[in-house]
Symmetry: C2
Subunit: 215 residues, 2 copies
């Protein structure tokens, strides 16, 4: 197994946690998103991932998978233990919905290429770009906090006390929020879940600061 | 079953197709995203969906599910026939990856609330807003076209000849592209799949123009 990753990419971070939870060893292939204008834009990587984003997952050279959540569902189907989704369809929907709220409503707006487009094509100043970044994290976290705080299924983690795909999306998004010095104490449930998750080995070993390409 | 929907919402459109493919009757509850500043922002709807977006799906009053892809996976698990995902994990990952490329890389950037934020907070002019909209569809479609055209699994539809979640995301995104008069002839595989899908009853009955709240 091979994972094309960038230490700071939060979508890559999600998959790193999943691989660790499942106890699957993998080869880490660093793709530097900034150096030399971005290694992801070079033809060699575009052959692997035409969308020129990380992560890309390769299983046994036979299957190349793009999109972090598609990779994670694949790992869940091919290596079911320990599970990253609950058993009942209603609870699975709940967990997927929490994950997708980060993956579809927050993260896509703060992607590197979106920030680049804002800067170079919309030509906004840095203050406007920062306000944009904060806005989508803060509005998304406010809703996520409300949903997590108001649901009896929330435990030490987003669903009960063991990791699910909801946590795999939440923790990297909190990492992004912290990088941008967003005050996460306003989201006590999110912060509590994040803090607990990072005490777990699978999450700690996936943190950006301990990756081979970390700077 | 109940679906909170807006005729033009492409995320709602995805779920309408899924319900039709599965042959499931449902109550259509219209939420007007524009009238009176947006019905989705009113407290009554925020109780149903704190994120104030459509769709929301309610199964038997017991389970409320947000996020279109979480709803569709739930329908797939609770009503497996006819399937919206292939059987093998590798092919499921391929189909999910195509769906997520639309749902995570294109659609979130062109959401109504993003366009509103661009206009009112970033204060861009209409030409810049339109260029933004086009940019994300065009760059996303270019990749999607390349992936679909270059894959032997592509048939009359995104994967073979029967509907999958990839088509459920593709067709509503083409509808958005057409609304914005984007030249989709540059994406012949996408256009061919879209045109064929719309000949199928499940897709035709989900089209925005034939919904109860259509204008």
């Amino acid at each position: 197994m091979k994972l094309y990753s960038y230490f700071r990419s939060s979508a890559s971070y999600r998959v790193r946690i999943a691989l660790n939870v499942k106890g699957l060893p993998y080869e880490y292939v660093p793709i530097h998103l900034v150096r030399e204008g971005g290694e992801q834009l070079k033809p060699a990587y575009r052959q692997v991932n035409p969308d020129a984003i990380v992560p890309t997952f390769v299983d046994d050279e036979a299957h190349t998978i793009q999109q972090s959540l598609a990779i994670i569902e694949y790992l869940e189907e091919t290596h079911p233990e320990p599970p990253l989704l609950p058993k009942s369809p209603a609870d699975r929907a709940h967990v997927r919905s929490l994950a997708l709220q980060v993956a579809c409503e927050i993260h896509p707006l703060n992607n590197l290429r979106v920030l680049k487009y804002l800067k170079h094509s919309v030509r906004v100043d840095d203050a406007t770009k920062d306000a944009w970044y904060r806005h989508w994290i803060e509005s998304g976290f406010a809703t996520l906090e409300q949903r997590l705080a108001g649901d009896a299924r929330t435990g030490k983690l987003s669903y009960g006390d063991t990791p699910t795909i909801a946590d795999l999306c939440l923790v990297p998004q909190v990492y992004n929020a912290n990088r941008f010095k967003i005050d996460t104490t306003r989201y006590p449930t999110i912060q509590r879940i994040n803090d607990y998750a990072l005490t777990l080995d699978a999450f700690a070993r996936a943190e950006p600061g301990v990756q081979p390409d970390s700077e």
